[in-house]
């Protein structure tokens, strides 16, 4: 599934590395070294995805996110050396699809990009069914199966897993989970979410392999890993 990717980074070495990686994966690559060029390229070339570095010479990369969102349908993957949790959350809140922290693993980067592009294609219609390895989540029947066995989930467990599954491969922030799975008269607290996740892990992950199905993005949120 070749796509047109806009790489925004002020460092030429990183741009070269990303270009080689992306070209080898069969993508089409456009480059920009600063925010202004990035906006111009995004408007002119209609890329499918933007790999966005936050430390740009002319402006804060965070401020580009809403502009890029407005400029087209491109998915936005933030690639940054900044490690601050607040910034990741802000980037996601502003409309970024995912983030990767430098130094990154190129395979990981390509996987995230693939997931984001896949979501973009079917973002219009919510899925009826999500499969991950031997795990099946059926939204029509509200059932979760592992192989042939039905898993018995509580309503909250199903809500959280369902939300993660609809965004499989992508991080969903704590706030987002808490606001969509806890109704107004309940007290949405991260403690409850932790317990739900712990319960889900016990039901979904083999013993000794905590994190193999649901990944914990520290301070940001959770992610249902894309491939088993």
């Amino acid at each position: 599934m070749p796509a047109r990717i806009l790489v925004v980074d002020d460092d030429a070495a990183i741009r070269r590395l990303l270009r080689n990686t992306l070209l080898r994966a069969g993508h089409d690559v456009i480059e920009a070294g600063d925010g202004k060029t990035a906006l111009r390229q995004a408007a002119a070339e209609h890329p499918d995805a933007v790999l966005l570095d936050l430390g740009l010479p002319d402006r804060d990369g965070l401020s580009l996110i809403p502009l890029l969102r407005a400029a087209g349908e491109a998915v936005i993957l933030v690639v940054s050396a900044r490690d601050a949790v607040e910034e990741k959350v802000t980037a996601l809140d502003l409309g970024a699809d995912d983030f990767v922290t430098k130094p990154f693993d190129t395979d990981e980067l390509l996987a995230r990009l693939r997931v984001a592009l896949r979501h973009r294609e079917r973002s219009e219609a919510p899925p009826h069914i999500v499969r991950r390895g031997d795990l099946t989540i059926d939204f029509d029947t509200r059932t979760v199966r592992r192989g042939d066995t039905d898993l018995h989930l509580t309503r909250k467990e199903y809500d959280v897993l369902g939300l993660l599954a609809r965004h499989i491969g992508r991080v969903v922030t704590h706030d987002r989970i808490l606001t969509s799975c806890w109704s107004g008269d309940e007290d949405p607290r991260i403690e409850y979410l932790r317990i739900i996740i712990r319960n889900l892990r016990q039901k979904l992950e083999p013993p000794g392999e905590i994190g193999s199905v649901i990944a914990n993005e520290l301070g940001v949120g959770y992610r249902l890993r894309a491939d088993g």
Binding site: V85, P103, T154, R155, I190, E191, I197, G211, G219
Partner: protein, 888 residues
């Protein structure tokens, strides 16, 4: 020849003037001579020269020609002050300071400001303007000059209350606005002279020709004196001439009686005339202890006046006034003494002797100026214990018993004694009675003894008649001895009392100093100063300072319910900024309830000590002022010591930081270069074809670099104090799994066993910081654990706290030094068999754990097979709330 030696004092005075504004005073002999007019026209002339001139305040009194002159000037609007239902319009000092002109015209220097103003007197406003570098023109009449106040009042019979201290004139340029008396009288008759209503009564007398001539002469002389003084100062500053060195020193002795103000002013005139330094002296005799509050206040007021007139002030303790004055005159090498002769009753002088006569007689090298003082009644006070004490009944009883005993003894021994010896025996009760019970009892003993001697022993025995004249003598001798002994004892007792009082003061001070010397904490010391001063002086005390270079703030108070309003704070700030006292009883911001004294060491003001009397009276009694100033000096020294200690500590901190920085640099260069070398070498070999081995090297070393850089960044955040905690309820099993996942490369070659039960309660920590702690602990275990062995992470809920341990199999830690591993850059001996590792990792674990409130422990495993690092989550961090049904 010796080069001329400049007088440092004069140089200092000159230096203090640099950068200050200059004051020009238009001095007049009487109202109506045209001072204001003269000042305005000269201001106008300066304005034409291009000088920035404004009018601060000018009273035209509706005179047309004066009014006309103000029109050309910019006028700073006056400030309106509401006072007792009236609106007073005062000069707006702050507005002028803000406007900052080159020259400001300020009429009527002697004016008294409305209550509640910053300064009670206008001349103090002017002083502030001068200090701000603004030139001032001002006007004043000669009768307002402090030291001439009495002189003018003596011949005009009009006394003005508003006076200007002579010190104001010392640095000013003085221009006498002079018109002949005849012309002034003409102007007066023509109604051209404005006078306040209340003054019109005295008018006829005041404006007589003779008075005006005398006033005119005074004004001219004062102006000439000012010129003289300045010239002399210049000469001294240059080191020319030298006649002042052995010049006159003037001492004025003051007491508690009314009228001492005049004495002080007279002394000022003497000092001015002789151009010598002068001192106002109060002798603290045992009598002072019985002063009424009024008398204390009068002494304090007189001392304040003297200080304002430029005198040094001193208080010396002594058994009596004459001795106190004499010893001070000798110590100060004084040449002139000014004293008052109070018109006391003859009886008083007979009993006490005339102080004046004795001083004139006994101080041969000192010129004594004696001024008359108002008559005071001698009956103000009841007779006191000392010479006139009536004695106690017990005293009389003991004396009578003694005499009876001596009589019995003498009768028993009469056969071996002659008459003379018997008389000697009778001396005994007389001396005992006089020394133990005072004069009256002594006299009683003398009388009774002589009667007993006469009756029982002198022939004719059994009668009171005496037939031998020499026996009459022995009666008188007994009486005389009684008087002499009692006087001597009384004197000794007074001196002992004085010594005791002085010892008490010294003991108080010594105790204070000893206590406070042991204190090393500023807040504790400040509190102790306040508490001790409160105990010693029975006043409310606050101590203000500028901790950490911030604004002036209260450091401690003797009474937590103290109250400082805006006025008080302004006074405190004034005292701090200028280094001179402010507030109640001082010349500045006297409306404050507090008296603020600067705590000074040298020229550095370290803080301000405020004292206030709850009852609302004077903060500190005059006789306690020396003690207060000693305590203040000691407190200032304490603050200075603490400041220096803090400075030393800062230096230590800097030194430690430098050492760390050096260690960091060496470790950075080692730990960054080693993996880089490996990466570069491996990459170079890739040209010959990539082997899995080379690729693994590059990946491994790069990961190591990355880990190291992350640690450096973490350490930098800790050192910079930039750690921001984001505390969240966190699941330990999740956290451990995540860390083990991220550390998988460092743990390669080890088995990893995660033994964290999933039912452990959640803990409140920063997940990110916890993650880094765990990464470092795992990294450390991977590095120091023997290859191929298992690394265990073990979570346990024990006695209400959670313990999370990372256990390895390896050499473990050197026994007894386990705790040292957490010190920055510490790599324990024998540990560098593994390449890499700066010792940063464990220091970060410790720093992060501390920040989150976790405990850390380093120990060897119980079975001595390796090291055990444990994070301890105290009960307070454990989430215990029951979870709602819906989550279960």
């Amino acid at each position: 020849m010796e080069p001329p030696r400049p007088d440092p004092e004069a140089l200092l005075r000159a230096a203090a003037q640099e950068g200050r504004g200059r004051l020009k005073i238009f001095l007049g002999a009487a109202p109506g001579v045209g001072k204001t007019y003269e000042m305005l026209s000269e201001g106008m002339a300066r304005r034409r020269d291009g000088v920035d001139v404004v009018i601060g305040v000018v009273e035209t009194h509706g005179r047309a020609e004066t009014e006309a002159l103000t029109r050309g000037h910019e006028i700073v609007p006056r400030r309106e002050v509401a006072y007792e239902g009236r609106t007073l319009r005062e000069m707006d000092l702050d507005a002028i300071l803000a406007r900052a002109p080159r020259l400001v015209l300020v009429d009527e220097l002697a004016h008294t400001n409305a209550p509640g103003s910053r300064h009670p007197k206008r001349h103090q406003d002017v002083a502030e303007l001068l200090a701000a570098g603004i030139d001032v023109y001002s006007t004043v009449n000669i009768q307002h000059v402090e030291s001439l106040n009495d002189v003018v009042a003596s011949f005009t019979r009009v006394r003005v209350r508003e006076t200007v201290p002579d010190s104001v004139f010392e640095t000013a340029e003085i221009e006498v606005v002079d018109i002949p008396p005849d012309e002034l009288i003409e102007r007066l008759k023509a109604g051209k002279v404005y006078l306040p209503q209340e003054a019109t009564r005295a008018l006829g007398h005041f404006f007589s020709k003779s008075n005006l001539s005398a006033l005119r002469e005074l004004a001219l002389r004062r102006a000439a004196q000012a010129v003289d003084a300045r010239m002399l100062d210049d000469v001294r500053a240059l080191g020319l001439g030298g006649t002042w060195a052995g010049g006159d020193r003037i001492v004025v002795a003051i007491n508690e009686l009314p009228g001492c103000d005049a004495l002080v002013r007279a002394a000022k005139r003497v000092a001015d005339g002789l151009r010598g330094p002068w001192t106002a002296l109060f002798v603290d005799t045992p009598r002072s202890a019985h002063f009424t509050d009024d008398e204390h206040a009068r002494v304090a007021a007189t001392m304040t006046l003297a200080a304002q007139l430029g005198a040094a002030v001193a208080t010396v303790p002594a058994p009596n006034v004459v001795e106190g004055i004499q010893s001070f005159l000798t110590d100060a090498r004084a040449t002139q003494l000014v004293i008052g002769k109070s018109r006391r009753s003859r009886w008083f002088e007979l009993r006490h002797g005339s102080v004046v006569d004795r001083l004139i007689r006994d101080t041969p090298n000192v010129t004594v100026h004696v001024l008359p003082m108002p008559t005071v009644a001698d009956t103000r006070r009841p007779a006191r214990r000392r010479s006139g004490q009536p004695g106690t009944p017990i005293g009389y009883a003991v004396t009578t018993f003694l005499i009876a005993a001596i009589t019995a003894l003498a009768t028993a021994l009469f056969h071996i004694l002659d008459l003379g010896n018997v008389a000697l025996l009778y001396l005994l009760p007389v001396m005992v009675a006089a020394s133990l019970f005072g004069l009256r009892t002594g006299l009683y003993a003398g009388l009774v003894s002589s009667l007993a001697y006469n009756f029982f022993f002198l022939p004719p025995v059994g009668t009171f008649s005496v037939n031998n004249p020499e026996n009459i003598l022995s009666v008188f001798v007994l009486l005389g001895i009684a008087i002499a002994t009692s006087q001597l004892t009384a004197r000794v007792r007074v001196q002992a009392d004085l010594a005791a009082a002085s010892a008490r003061t010294n003991a108080t001070l010594a105790g204070f100093v000893r206590q406070i010397a042991a204190i090393n904490d500023l807040d504790v010391a400040a509190q102790m100063i306040c508490d001790d001063l409160r105990r010693l002086l029975q006043v409310q005390v606050v101590l203000l300072s500028t901790p950490l270079g911030g604004p002036l703030d209260v450091l401690a108070a003797s009474d937590p319910s103290y109250r400082l309003d805006t006025m008080d704070l302004a006074a405190a700030k004034w005292a701090f900024d200028t280094g001179s006292p402010a507030g109640k009883g001082s010349g500045t911001l006297a409306a404050s309830e507090w008296l603020f004294q600067p705590l000074k060491v040298g020229d550095r003001v370290l803080g301000v000590l405020g004292v206030a009397n709850e009852a609302g009276g004077d903060p500190v009694r005059a006789d306690r002022l020396p003690l207060l100033s000693s305590l203040i000096d000691q407190s200032a020294l304490v603050l200075e010591r603490l400041r220096l200690q803090a400075e030393m500590r800062d230096v230590d901190v800097v030194r430690t930081r430098d050492r760390l920085r050096a260690a960091l640099l060496s470790s950075v260069s080692h730990d960054l270069r080693t993996p880089l070398t490996a990466v570069i070498a491996a990459a170079a070999q890739l040209h010959d074809g990539a082997t899995p081995d080379l690729i693994a090297t590059i990946e491994g070393e790069a990961a190591r670099l990355n880990r190291f850089v992350a640690n450096l960044l973490d350490m930098a955040r800790v050192e910079a104090g930039a750690l921001k905690l984001r505390i969240e309820a966190t699941d330990l099993s999740d956290a451990v799994a995540g860390a083990a996942h991220d550390a998988r490369r460092a743990l390669k070659g080890h088995g990893v066993q995660l033994d964290v039960p999933p039912d452990l309660p959640l803990v409140r920590v920063d997940p990110q910081l916890l993650h880094h702690c765990l990464l470092n602990l795992l990294d450390n275990a991977g590095r120091y654990g023997d290859p191929g062995t298992e690394i265990v992470v073990e979570g346990r809920n024990r006695f209400g706290e959670l313990r999370l341990a990372v256990l390895d199999h390896g050499p473990g830690l050197p026994p007894g030094r386990e705790g040292e591993v957490f010190e920055t850059f510490r790599r324990l001996e024998g540990s560098d068999r593994v390449a890499g590792g700066t010792g940063l990792g464990l220091a970060i674990v410790k720093a992060f754990a501390d920040a989150m409130g976790l405990g850390v422990e380093a120990a060897n495993r119980a079975d001595a097979t390796g090291a055990a690092f444990t994070l301890i989550f105290p009960a307070a961090l454990i989430v215990r709330e029951p979870l709602p049904e819906s989550t279960a």
